[in-house]
Symmetry: D2
Subunit: 289 residues, 4 copies
């Protein structure tokens, strides 16, 4: 049933546990997978379908599709390959890549330097939505561990009501917290109402934070202002989920003695296998595999 | 604190229990409310703020804002006023309306015949989102009543994963059903995955319906085709939630002996007071009341 | 694997849709089932394993196990057989029953008049626990239908925290209500706390009912006293789930204009097939089928 | 309204963050509280009502009620006082205690050596039930952290369906897992059915564990036998919640390369403040405070 024009061989270069798991998912679907730069892995279930290549060149040879890390590179010079025994230069990678090869990478807004055509899996909605669940689980684990109280019978505020905000509010409620949602748009507040929550605009936040046990921010863009922070109790557990630079006035937090727990990259930290499967799902869908 | 340019007097003309409840909500906020065409109401809590007018003209006199029914009219001739002792002609209404009055009505795609400027509360996202919750509750009540089995331990399929689909799937799951979501877009299926559901495209539906106890359709546009219907078991409870003409091949259903329960207008039927409050919320927001 | 001493033939005499469904469950497990007194059933899926008997005597002949209705009889004279074309006298039934036959019946505290040994399926914990779920679903359907508001964003009180109270409180919460539990024992209140609810003793009820949209009673024994009822708002939806005589001072309710919705026998009314499967499950377990 | 015979002064001797929090709860209710052996606490919110005593004798002087640790002592010689700068001998404590003082302690089956009458708060049902929620939260945090996958879309088995089993199964389900309950009694399995779960006896466990991502044991008494363990996949996250010696054949686990995560004392570790409040609640109730 597979289209003969579809990739038969996939190379996975660099990355972390997630990309290794993606490699496993490709192999399970019947593709030949060669990996390079995923060395520090004692128990990897290599199989006839899934093999380590000795060199970058070998790994890429004949590959129809190449999976690159997330992010692809932190500095544009070296590939992001924390599990590789030796560094992999971006220039070397590009030298071996062919323009006829399909490339999937987590670009985070960057592009490959010389115009290779790349599918940015980290920019897809499927990626963001499925990872939101992993983020929420990580946030819950942090909330349980970092606070001295149970989530059950606590009061929690969630700022922002996009993917993560929606899932987080519902999960906190399922755990027995009383949840208040803060959202800018009346549409989001209507949705929060329909899920059973109290919902307010940001103007209500200074007053509301004074009486909360947990504050989760999901909004990038400074919404947890100094005025808000001045009202937070020192024993409130404050968790920042928005991507950098986040949504909190960290200087004000510091001055007010409010500890902000920065919780970034939770899918990779708390659920690397699921996160790797999600990347594979995105690639499957993007290339019709 | 109220802006002097804001409405002080509101007229509510025709409609059903919902508009009466909206009138109550207006009165609670301190507006003077006069109603006309809401007669068959033995126990209405009229108050100094909320009064019946003797004539349409009296009701409209000096009103800054006029609330009209949902839908405004079924035929363009008579106002939709099922609780009125006598019919109210649209022409008479228009004759007494002034172009300086703000009008809120449920137009359902129609417009007022002569270009009055109208806020269509039924077209707002807040209206749709909050009513989705009422729709889901009605659908649950119907599912419990019309099936001979418990929702708990049943298998349920929800087609479509917009507002109603999302809330319905979650609620069925909370009741103990095993829920499968059918959605066209990979984004919606990703969201369903993140809520813990199995999710498929419509191609999987014929096979899946053969093994389901409940089938809820939320998609307008014929997605429950003859092929699907031919696979439905006669004891499956089939509930149509999409607005007319719905998403089911009703002729095929009839020929296959599949009973389709049409469930429309559930907010007005099952939760008229909440639905009336929702209309008031939309009006409050639209006019900054 | 079946013990040769186990029943091979099962007779189902009288009863309603539930017993008919039990008969179907027996047949599915491979027993020969003969039914009598279940006549008004156009579409019953009779099969080689499941047959109507022409006479009571034929139905009982050679049966190892006999399933009787719930309750067995309302007056001790006639079998409870609402679907039978003609009445079935208890005396006639007893005349044809042999003491060597195993009997399962819903006795509700009664016993068979002359000392036949009977397994009372309605007295088993499995029966009560599984039916509690069906009761809760019926209660939810009634609450949605009988109130003019959504359960979502409402305030609900549940009195009693046994099987039904626990399941009902959780379900109302899942639907978006704010739930308060009233229970006598500190153990039950601790459990309610652990599920995220506010919990109080009955002394707090008069004050709390004044501010509730729904009141569900699950406690037999008059806990909803006149004092409580005097505090209930007329628009509160009051649902009595406790078995007769219930837990409410109905005279006080009548005098105060509070409508009490009596909700009894919900499993048989709302989920007869599931209720019939539950009876079969109890019989399977009791007799090691 | 307080009975003059009730304690006016409470001494809290030794213990950890929980007992310190209990002390705070006592002070909030208006009792004079003196603590001893809770030294390593930089930020303790001492107040006029809540003070550190310089000596054990001072702390106990005039106290009507004495709160002791959980457990009271690990060896019968020294009080359990991990936050004390110097050890507190049980003999010294007993020398200063008067038989007229009311004592509350977590005995865990032990008794005070010389027959003082003690209320064992750790033996109360309220204590066990409320702590079950804290245990479940800790278990969830561990499951999220220790596995490489999300709980959402995973398969989880919970063995035992008492307090912890019930709450844990429901919470896992809310997080999007497919949950199977293993319980000995048909009553517990009926309850699990009514919550929407699949439920089996222990005979089904060997087959079921082969296909699970998480296994949580709540049953003390060896139910996770060698036979079961031999079927567990190496990547399954196995969490032991039953008190020592637990329910797992640890030698078999070791031999099969199955890592068992021992998760004991979770309330004190993950939610010490809530756990301290729970102790205070039990004491309030036991002594009618």
């Amino acid at each position: 049933m597979k289209d003969p024009s579809l990739p038969k061989k996939i190379a996975v270069i660099g990355g972390d546990l997630r990309q290794l798991e993606s490699a496993g998912a490709f192999a399970e679907r019947g593709y030949l997978v060669s990996v390079y730069g995923l060395d520090v892995l004692p128990d990897t279930p290599f199989s006839p379908n899934l093999q380590k290549a000795d060199t970058l060149k070998d790994a890429l040879a004949l590959a129809d599709l190449v999976l690159l890390p997330l992010p692809y590179s932190y500095n544009g010079e070296k590939l992001n390959a924390p599990l590789s025994l030796k560094p992999i230069a971006v220039s070397e990678l590009l030298a071996h890549l062919s323009r006829s090869q399909k490339i999937a990478a987590g670009l985070l807004g960057e592009s490959l330097p010389d115009g290779f055509s790349v599918y940015d899996y980290a920019a897809s909605e499927v990626f963001a939505t499925k990872n939101a669940r992993a983020t929420v689980e990580g946030a819950i684990a942090i909330a349980i561990r970092e606070s001295a109280i149970t989530v059950c019978q606590s009061r929690a505020i969630v700022t922002g009501y996009g993917r993560i905000g929606k899932m987080l509010a519902k999960t906190l409620c399922d755990l027995g917290a009383t949840v208040t949602v803060i959202a800018r748009s009346s549409r989001d507040r209507a949705w929060a109402w329909a899920e059973g929550f109290d919902a307010y605009g940001f103007h209500a936040l200074p007053e509301l934070v004074a009486n909360t046990d947990f504050l989760f921010n999901t909004v990038p863009g400074e919404v947890i202002t100094r005025e808000v922070i001045e009202h937070i109790r020192p024993d409130t557990t404050v968790i920042e989920l928005a991507s950098l630079p986040g949504g909190m006035d960290l200087r004000a937090a510091d001055e007010c003695g409010i500890r902000v727990i920065s919780a970034l990259g939770l899918p990779g930290k708390y659920s690397p296998k699921t996160a790797g499967r999600i990347i594979a799902d995105c690639v499957f869908e993007a290339f019709g595999l």
